[in-house]
């Protein structure tokens, strides 16, 4: 049923639980598995280019570690995982990436790294489920 699965991973504990489910599904269906991490914490309205560049470097280092850890988990289950890191708004980027690359399932943890905004705006998972035309699996 599923040929291309996308796991959205922000490095949180919940996201890694979702990864385990996604790896299991990919193994069962023989599906292609991709991981998307969204760099969304670049400082808005920065005073100097350096502030943005340093924040970008810190995010990339963080998500490189997330990708490495995720690949190990997938490899242990005999599944190949392709990782992507893209800057942007989390919900918009995941929904657009899934549609443009024709994934047929998006797997996401029910709660990621909550900062102040998510409390006001509702969870990322719920918004992805609302906006996506792809099947969405929210892992509790």
């Amino acid at each position: 049923m599923f040929h291309k699965i996308l796991i959205a991973n922000d490095g949180s504990e919940n996201a890694f639980r979702a990864l385990e489910v996604a790896v299991d599904l990919a193994r069962r269906y023989g599906a292609e598995l991709h991981q998307l991490s969204v760099e969304e914490h670049l400082p808005r309205y920065a005073a100097s280019l350096g502030e943005v560049l340093e924040a970008q470097r810190e995010e990339l280092d963080y998500f490189d570690n997330v990708a490495e850890k995720a690949r190990e988990i997938a490899m242990r289950a005999g599944v190949q995982l392709e990782c992507h890191i893209i800057a942007g708004h989390e919900v918009e980027t995941i929904v657009r990436f899934a549609e443009e690359n024709r994934f047929d399932l998006v797997v996401i943890g029910h709660k990621g790294h909550s900062r102040i905004w998510p409390f006001h705006m509702g969870s990322t998972a719920a918004k992805i489920a609302d906006h996506s035309r792809t099947h969405v699996l929210i892992v509790q």
């Binding site: 914490h41 400082p43 309205y45 005073a47 690359n101 024709r102």
Partner: protein, 388 residues
């Protein structure tokens, strides 16, 4: 006791700004300005001489960094277009705001010129963050916008230096010393860094700070401002700076930890909320002038060089923050503008960092550029999906 009180409050606000910046995803600068407003209006914190000095140095350091962060290869690749777009992006609001402030609002010529400079800026940092978030940094659109921003920055630095210039004999010394530093520093620095660099006592950073402090000293003697030589010094050292990532990082760590926060807090502290409230209409007029003159100036050229992204480019070129704050602060400290004019100008500058980027992202985002980029760079991913 006042020294210790001010120091303690500022240290607390610097720490609080960094925490709020991370939690809110906003730049530390915006929060520092806001907390500075709070401290100045409600906590009785005043700008003591040492605060003014460190803030002045912070402004010069930010200007040096703006020059050092210029990507000369991008500039060279887009030289003609960036010169035109960046040049008009500076000139149109500078002339528009200056003429309006003088002839319609009755400001003194010098004050009107400061308003022109403060509203002429484009914020490279604000623009770059938006380009990264939209994935446009490496596209022709992104490169042209960034190269144009460098040109606007240069225009702002040059204009501010000219506006604040009051010629005396020492001005010649200032010009001579600036020239010597700009010519010799890129030649001396690599040897100096090779011999003394990469140590915990940081002779490299101290050398750069020394150069900037010398520029500030002679600028003061020469009744001028160090912004232009600091920007040009950054520009001539940009290749050394960009090759040495450790130096970049260390300079940012030292600067962002204590020096530049004092600059933005000091800027915020000098904003009077009561005066700003009384100047609400002036705020709207000046904000409209900045946006309209940017659109009138930049849009036709953007339409010519980037027909599908013209309004997006124009809106990003309408942003401002650091150079606008710096220009307003320099005008206030030189006694050219009063506190009402300063409060309104900084408020307009901050608003121009937020409003145009939000509109550009919401209504004019060039999604098609990304789709084209994605199709050309990752065909396998799309093709595989199509076969299914």
């Amino acid at each position: 006791m006042q020294d210790l009180y001010v120091g303690t409050v500022l240290a607390g606000l610097i720490f609080l700004s960094s925490v709020l910046s991370i939690e809110l995803g906003l730049s530390a600068a915006i929060i520092e300005i806001a907390l500075g407003v709070f401290a100045g209006n409600f906590l009785g914190v005043t700008a003591l001489p040492w605060v003014t000095y460190i803030a002045g140095f912070g402004g010069i350091l930010l200007t040096f960094l703006a020059g050092a962060e210029v990507d000369l290869d991008v500039m060279r690749a887009k030289f003609k277009e960036s010169l035109l777009i960046g040049g008009i992006s500076f000139l149109a609001p500078f002339l528009g705001a200056m003429l309006l402030c003088h002839y319609l609002l009755g400001w003194e010529w010098k004050a009107a010129q400061i308003a022109g400079v403060a509203l002429s800026t484009t914020s490279l940092a604000v623009v770059y963050a938006v380009l990264v978030e939209t994935g446009l940094t490496h596209t022709p659109v992104g490169k042209l916008i960034m190269a144009s921003t460098f040109v606007t920055d240069f225009g702002t630095a040059a204009a501010l230096a000219l506006v604040l210039l009051e010629f005396n004999l020492n001005t010649l010394w200032f010009a001579l010393i600036s020239l010597i530093i700009i010519v010799l520093a890129p030649r001396i620095a690599p040897r100096l860094f090779a011999r003394y660099g990469d140590r915990v006592i940081e002779p490299e950073i101290k050398f750069l700070f020394l150069l900037l402090v010398i520029l500030m000293y002679f600028a003061k003697l020469g009744l001028s401002h160090a912004i232009l030589p600091a920007f040009v010094l950054g520009l001539v050292m940009s290749r050394i700076f960009q090759k040495n990532t450790q130096l970049q990082r260390k300079l940012r760590v030292v600067g962002f930890a204590f020096i530049t926060p004092i600059f933005f807090l000091n800027g915020g502290m000098k904003i009077s909320l009561s005066l700003l409230w009384s100047g609400a209409a002036l705020f709207l007029v000046l904000f409209a002038v900045k946006q309209i003159t940017k659109i009138v100036g930049v849009y036709p050229l953007a339409k010519r060089y980037l027909p599908n992204e013209a309004m997006y480019t124009t809106l990003l070129m309408s942003t401002g923050l650091t150079m606008g704050t710096l220009s307003s602060l320099a005008g206030l400290e030189a006694g050219v503008i009063d506190q009402l004019q300063f409060s309104v100008l900084v408020a307009v500058v901050v608003a121009s960092a937020i409003v145009p980027t939000s509109i550009a992202q919401r209504f004019f985002h060039p999604h098609h550029v990304l789709v084209e980029l994605q199709e050309s760079s990752r065909p396998a991913l799309v093709e595989e999906a199509a076969e299914e």
